[in-house]
Amino acid sequence: MKKIFILYSILLLLSGCKKYIDVNQDPNNPADVRESLILAPVEVAISQLQNGGRGVYVTAMYLQNAALAQDAPNTDTYRATNAEMNSTWNDLYTTILKNLRLLQSKAEANKKQNYVAVAKILTAFALGTATDMWGDIPYSQAFNGFEKLNPVYDKQEEVYKTMQQLLDEAIVHIGKNDVIVPGKDDFYYGGDMEAWKKLAYTLKARYFMHLTKAPGYDAATQADLALAALDNGMQSNDDDLKMGYTGAAGQEGPWFLNFQPGEALVLASTFVDNLISRGDPRLPAMVRPAESSGQYRGRIIGSTIEAPENYSYPSDFYAGNGASNYLVTFTEALFLKAEALLLKNGYAAAQPLYTAAIESHMEKLHISSTDVADYLAARGTLTNGNALRLIMEEKAVGNFLNFETYNDWRRTGYPTLTIVQNAVTDAIPRRLLYPESEKINNPQPQQSAKLTDKVWWDN
């Protein structure tokens, strides 16, 4: 009896202890949240990190839109490290794509068709950015935590198929006309599912066009696919995918932050001089004159440094504290159509869309109609010889500070770029390096890629 009592006491004591220390439930952070709470920060992340992060910041320099007011060798003269890509990769995978995956599965479980659609569209968009930066990337084995600590990389072609499939599925989900739509958690479209559908089609067109030179793909077929998609794509500037900012302290857009004095990022001479030489009326609307001289002056990359105030910065439209961040635009849709038509039907067919595209961009910048007309006249009409160059040059202006320009330059060679002085590589970079964190934690054969190596579709 006594023994049983002692045994019982010990058991009681131990179970009491177990209970006493069972206090490790996090009171600070929820274990689960509903869809709208995930969508809102993901949209901000896509704007801040995917379209304003290090990867895009770097390619803005490769495109000679931006430069660093710092000594060479530096990023703008193609000095690159794997480690500097850690943040962009990490943001895409752990902040954006993983949470989109969660959003999608939650919405599927709760049968919220429109959230499923939005998650799929944004997943395709983020995957597109990732694969265009690095080529082969992890996806089919990704997001499994401890289950799969070393996901192998999918071929870029597979990733592209996945993206198109996700966009197709999203369109189907939207077609179900579910009454539950996102509200103010959707900073982009405020739950306007028609707009989301137009975005899905426009993205489809964008990604079809990326493969015009891909091995095993036919340019004309890709153009047809793009044209078909664009019929349902964006129809006006109101359809633009953009993130607006209040501009209040601590709530500024990414390009405002990228062009803060501490970053030493300024505009490059190539971009500024192109606008000047073409007499582009958008110059004052896009570029701020240098503070010290009042002149429009970009930095010649690789030249002797001067004080940052000797150089131009982007205008408030692009880099003001309240500037919207333009992710996918109607202007781009028009340029895509122009390029597709050029491929299919020649320069004459492309001409009206080329004009419309420039006009749509100038409209946003409030350029007077006479200036628009004068400029178009000065630029001349498309010819067989100049059509692709003009379309891509103008698209690059329309997509200023957008990562898409880097894809376009790699695909078409326009806008024409020459290697900068004091470059550390013998060619302009054609990709981003795989991140150091990935090389350490998940070694894969693709990671040996050099800065000048091409991704699969780049030919």
Binding site: P41, G52, L97, K98, G250, Q260, G262
Partner: protein, 1091 residues
């Protein structure tokens, strides 16, 4: 009541014991009071009596020669209505009453003829229980009881008694016709009762310990005049590395014992005050630079001793939290029957900065051309020689940025304390106010500290101690470090061209006047940027001791450590940095409770002394962090977050609990062999449920070989022991809630949710590990201690080898493609092997002159054995390398180690970064000397660190700016190296400016060997002559002059004091120095008075 008051009033001055003394008296009709004074002088015993009572008793005639105290007292009180009682050093005279009959006699009937009654005490007058008393030449033997008393019956009146006891010299006493004897035993040389406080506050004799500890006395701590007790220990403890982070008033200090064992977790020793573990987190660092280690809230003046438990065997009983070593602080207390003493001490310190050296020849500019900072905003001091520079035709004035900016610091410290006690209780109270004005204007640290301790004997078997510390700490400081694009005045001052006048601060249009863009004017920073904290802290401990039998003690100790901390950071809107202004209010609400219930049994079985301890520990720690951040400040000089355009807030709670059961057994065989074993079973809330409980323990043996030495040898070697121990200690070194993978309120770059009225959550990037178990530290230790020349020289050494296994790595990086950038794993292995040596010597011991030397030496080698999976590095932790190496960009070298130089004359940068330095010192040593000549004392302490690199970003950046002293020689440089194209020694020269500016972009040139020899402190003291005080209320006093950091020899370091870590005491910041708040050289005068 009145009687007690009188007792107190008339209590005699207590004098130190003079050892066992025989008393001789020859008085005729003398007042009792006078007689007692004589006895007191001869015996060293104090007297407690009522004057009234003595007067009533009348005078006495007494004549005794060489009798015991008891005998003398009996003679004095013969025929009087008085009785006496002896209680630890004090004789209490009281009225003889029926109830208060002489306790000695009440205990046993009056001795029969031939019976001997006796009382055995130790040298301090405490009874010696269990002593063996035998009659020489017979079998008669007995043992003393718990009061040290014995009774032997039927003994011949001329018998000789042999009295022996463990740890005492055996004594022979001739009975000589006496019926009562009182014998005082001397502690045996081999067993000088060096009692130290070990784990869980258990006091043990040092001789019996199977592991290494080191005790530092409170006096030695006070001598350093450091407000932070850890700084006071710097360089004095073998096996420990104690590093201050910066010179800012109140800044943090790191203590690592026997090397770091955790990759990214806490590596600092546990701090325990009177048995209560207290919080020593680094807090208050809302901005760049070090915070404060919260041990700063402990007033060093209240400390009696600090004992450092080093190895795992020593700390196994503390278990989880003690695996990294334990600093046991024992506070002062009053004593029973102690006369009240009021002490007052005051000190004033003048502090001067120890600055980097800067070039003071060249003006602002580039390529030798002058640039006027008011016209051309330029960060460079590569301009023309100041001597030749003319502005508007006049010689340009030169400004010394350092002299203009820094001031002489001033610190005052005032302490008043009161201690004493009556017959059943003792008290100690102290209040101190420390106030330090830093050498950077506007910075300060202030501390008000109140300490009260009351111990009382509730009954014969039950004693209690209650203590309470209240501290208010208040700090203001400026951001430190290389704060590119952020506020921080030191960074700007160190780069300020000597041709530029920083005043006025403002331009006529109200904007800041700066010499370059992207930096604030440093004087503007002082007024507009600050980091403050205010801490209110209570530490309270209640201890109850119940002793139902002389061999059994049950004690319970309940303690609480509670503080609230208010942190504020303010940064006004700056036109120079184009920042909107920020205010942060961060409140920390902390409370930690700890209870230990300990049952201790001690029994002697023939030759074995067995000590058993059983215990239970319950621990709970709760933190709340309430953070409000406002950006975009609209109202000038209004430091309230309500003026902010965007306000974000967070509120977090953290709760951790632990339970532990432990046992310890010490078996002492014939006082030369000790076997010790501990076991503990812990449960921690932070581990996975299935792995929450884990056992561990230690085992050790101790062989006191000097007990077996022949008498000849033991004359030379008075004490010698060898010990060996092995311990395996479990540890839950991970933060709370690491098992779960929750959603977090989203923060995307600058944008914090809720944003535009919309809440947002994203799944954390850190994958929770639901299987987390404890890590483990395995340690083998061997050591010894030898005392020679009659204990004049003591040498103590230890060698240890410790390996942490299953090491918890919080935030180890994993492939982001998993969806997470990091997780927590149980896989790190780090080894530390080391050697510690401590030598103390009484070089000279004489009446007027004493010279004591203490030297310590520490050498620790550590190595990271593995991290996780394929992972070979985590920041500064690299597999196969010592802990905390420096990794960075470096020069390319030939196989022989020569730097390759390109055809333009510049050293070639290696494509891949690599290991460029190691922050771990080769060895550490300390040497302290103290001399005492009559009333003068002189002591000085030399601290030596050999090896250990620092990353000196002050020097590196100042290469670029052209302000570093090394840039003063601006002749073209031929870089020593091998041409990369021709394999020949380089002959191409480059301009100094180009080379230094090229350097500044590379990590390798920033690495400097931080070896140093420091004269850390020198103290000259004078004990004021008692004669001086004859007509004053004072009893004693002392005046002390102290110098700190009077001399620093650091041959390879170029920026002042090589010690420290600008960014605080955490792991990753170790050895990174740059634009830190300079440490100081101080002159201190102090006065101490006792009344």
């Amino acid at each position: 009541m009145r009687f007690i008051a009188l007792l107190l009033l008339c209590a005699c001055l207590q004098v130190h014991a003079k050892g066992y003394s025989q008393i001789t008296l020859s008085e005729t009709n003398a007042p009792l009071q006078k007689v007692f004074k004589k006895i007191q002088k001869q015996s060293g015993y104090g007297f407690l009596f009522s004057v009234q009572l003595l007067q009533q008793a009348g005078p006495v005639t007494v004549k005794v020669s060489n009798v015991s105290l008891q005998k003398a007292l009996e003679e004095c009180l013969k025929g009087k209505e008085l009785d006496y009682e002896i209680q630890t050093q004090t004789v209490i005279i009281k009225k003889r009453t029926a109830t208060a009959v002489n306790l000695r006699q009440a205990a046993s009937p009056p001795p029969l003829p031939g019976d001997i009654q006796g009382h055995i005490t130790d040298s301090t007058g405490n009874p010696v229980a269990g002593a063996t008393v035998s009659v020489k030449g017979s079998n008669v033997t007995t043992q003393t009881n718990s009061s040290g008393e014995f009774l032997l019956k039927g003994i011949s009146s001329n018998a000789t008694l042999i009295i022996s006891s463990i740890g005492f010299e055996t004594k022979e006493v001739n009975v000589g016709g006496l019926t009562t004897v009182s014998v005082r035993l001397n502690t045996s040389a081999a067993a000088l009762k060096d009692v130290v406080v070990t784990a869980l506050g258990i006091t043990r004799e040092k001789r019996g310990l199977t592991y290494s500890t080191q005790e530092i006395k409170g006096a030695a701590i006070l001598r350093t005049k450091e407000p932070n007790v850890l700084n006071a220990l710097q360089g004095q403890v073998s096996g420990a590395q104690i590093t201050s982070s910066s010179g800012a008033p109140g800044s943090s200090t790191r203590i690592i014992i026997r090397g770091p064992t955790s990759v990214l977790g806490d590596n600092e020793a546990l701090i325990v005050v009177d048995g209560l573990p207290i919080n020593n987190a680094e807090t208050g660092a809302l901005t760049s630079g070090a915070g404060s280690s919260r041990i700063i809230d402990i007033d060093p003046a209240t400390i009696e001793t600090v004992n450092i438990l080093k190895g795992a065997a020593a700390t196994a009983l503390y278990g989880s939290s003690g695996a990294r070593g334990v600093v046991i602080i024992t506070t002062r207390s009053g004593g029973i029957n102690r006369k009240p003493v009021i002490s007052f001490s005051s000190s004033v310190s003048r502090d001067k900065g120890i600055f980097p050296k800067f070039q003071d020849k060249y003006a602002q500019g580039i390529d030798g051309e002058f640039q006027d900072g008011d016209i051309v905003k330029s960060s460079a001091s590569w301009g023309p020689l100041m001597d030749t520079l003319k502005i508007n035709g006049r010689p340009a004035p030169k400004y010394d940025p350092i002299k203009m900016f820094f001031q002489t610091g001033l610190a005052t410290n005032n302490t008043v304390s009161l201690n004493g006690g009556n017959n059943n209780s003792g008290y100690y109270m102290s209040y101190s106010y420390f106030s330090q004005k830093g050498i950077v204007p506007s910075t300060y640290f202030k501390r008000n500290s109140l300490f009260v301790k009351y111990n009382s004997r509730i009954t014969e078997k039950l004693t209690s101690t209650f203590q309470l510390t209240y501290t208010n700490s208040d700090q203001r400081r400026e951001p430190e470090g290389a704060t590119f694009g952020q506020p921080g005045p030191i960074f700007v001052v160190y780069n300020q061209p000597i041709s530029w006048n920083p005043f006025p601060i403002y331009n006529t249009d109200g904007t800041q006047r700066v010499f370059r863009n992207g930096r604030n004017n440093p004087y503007w920073d002082l007024q507009n940027v600050y980091n403050k904290y205010n801490v209110n802290r209570f530490i309270s401990v209640v201890t109850l001791n119940y002793q139902p039998a002389k061999w059994l003690t049950v004690s319970d100790r309940l303690g609480g450590d509670i503080f609230t901390e208010q942190d504020n950071y303010k940064e006004s809107p700056s036109d120079a940095l184009n920042t909107p202004g920020t205010l942060i209010d961060n409140n920390i609400n902390f409370r930690q409770f700890n209870n230990d219930l300990i049952i201790s049994a001690n029994r002697q079985f023939s030759d074995f002394n067995i000590n058993l301890i059983l215990g239970n520990n319950i621990y709970s720690s709760y933190t709340q962090r309430h953070n409000i951040q406002g950006v975009g400040l609209a109202v000038n000089d209004f430091d309230n977050v309500s003026s902010a355009a965007t306000i974000t807030a967070s509120n977090k709670h953290f709760l951790q609990r632990k339970v532990g059961f432990y046992a310890q057994a010490n078996i002492d065989y014939k006082k030369f062999l000790v076997l010790s074993a501990t076991g503990r079973y812990d449960g921690s809330s932070v581990l996975a449920r299935d792995n929450a409980f884990y056992p561990y323990g230690s085992i050790g043996a101790n062989f006191i070989f000097s007990e077996l030495l022949s008498s000849n040898l033991s004359k030379a070697i008075s004490f010698g022991k060898l010990r060996v121990s092995y311990a395996s200690v479990g540890n839950d070194n991970v933060g709370v809630y690491s098992l779960q993978t929750p959603y977090l309120a989203a923060t995307i770059n600058n944008i914090q949710f809720p944003y535009q009225g919309q809440a947002g959550f994203l799944l954390t990037q850190t994958l929770g590990n639901p299987h987390l178990k404890n890590e483990r530290l395995n340690e083998f230790e061997i050591g010894g201690e030898v005392k020679v020349f009659n204990n004049r020289i003591a040498i103590e050494g230890a060698w240890f080898s410790r390996t942490s296994v299953d090491g918890i790595i919080p935030g180890v990086s994993i492939s982001s493609a998993t969806g997470f950038s990091g997780t927590t794993v149980n896989s790190a292995r780090i080894s530390n092997k080391g050697f510690e040596l401590l030598v103390t010597a009484a070089a000279v011991r004489s009446k007027d002159f004493n010279w004591n030397i203490t030297a310590n030496f520490t050498k620790i080698r550590n190595k990271v054995l593995s991290l996780y999976g394929n992972l070979t590095s985590l920041g500064r932790i690299v597999v196969g390398q010592p802990y905390n190496i420096f990794f960075g960009s470096r020069f390319r070298r030939t196989d022989k180690g020569e730097v390759l130089v390109d055809p333009d004359g510049f050293p070639v940068l290696d494509d891949v970064p690599g290991i460029i330095g190691d922050a771990n010192p080769d060895w550490l040593a300390g040497l302290s000397n103290s001399f005492q000549y009559k009333r003068f004392t002189l002591s000085f302490f030399i601290d030596i660190k050999k090896g250990g690199d620092v990353y000196n970003s002050t020097e590196l950046n100042d290469y670029f700016f052209g302000t570093a002293k090394s840039t003063e020689n601006r002749a073209p440089i031929i870089y020593k190296g091998i041409g990369i194209d021709d394999n020949k020694p380089n002959k191409v020269q480059v301009s100094a400016q180009d080379l230094y500016r090229y350097y500044s972009d590379i990590d390798e040139p920033a690495i400097q060997d931080a070896s140093f020899i420091k004269l850390r402190n020198v103290t000259l003291g004078y004990d004021l002559n008692k004669q001086l005080f004859r007509r004053s209320p004072f009893k004693s006093g002392a005046v002390t002059l102290t110098g700190k950091n009077l001399w620093i020899h650091a041959p390879h370091f170029t920026s002042g004091d090589p010690e420290g870590s600008t960014y605080g005491s955490s792991n990753e910041n170790q050895g990174v120095l740059g634009y830190a708040y300079p440490s100081t050289r101080s002159f201190i005068i102090s006065l101490k008075l006792d009344f």
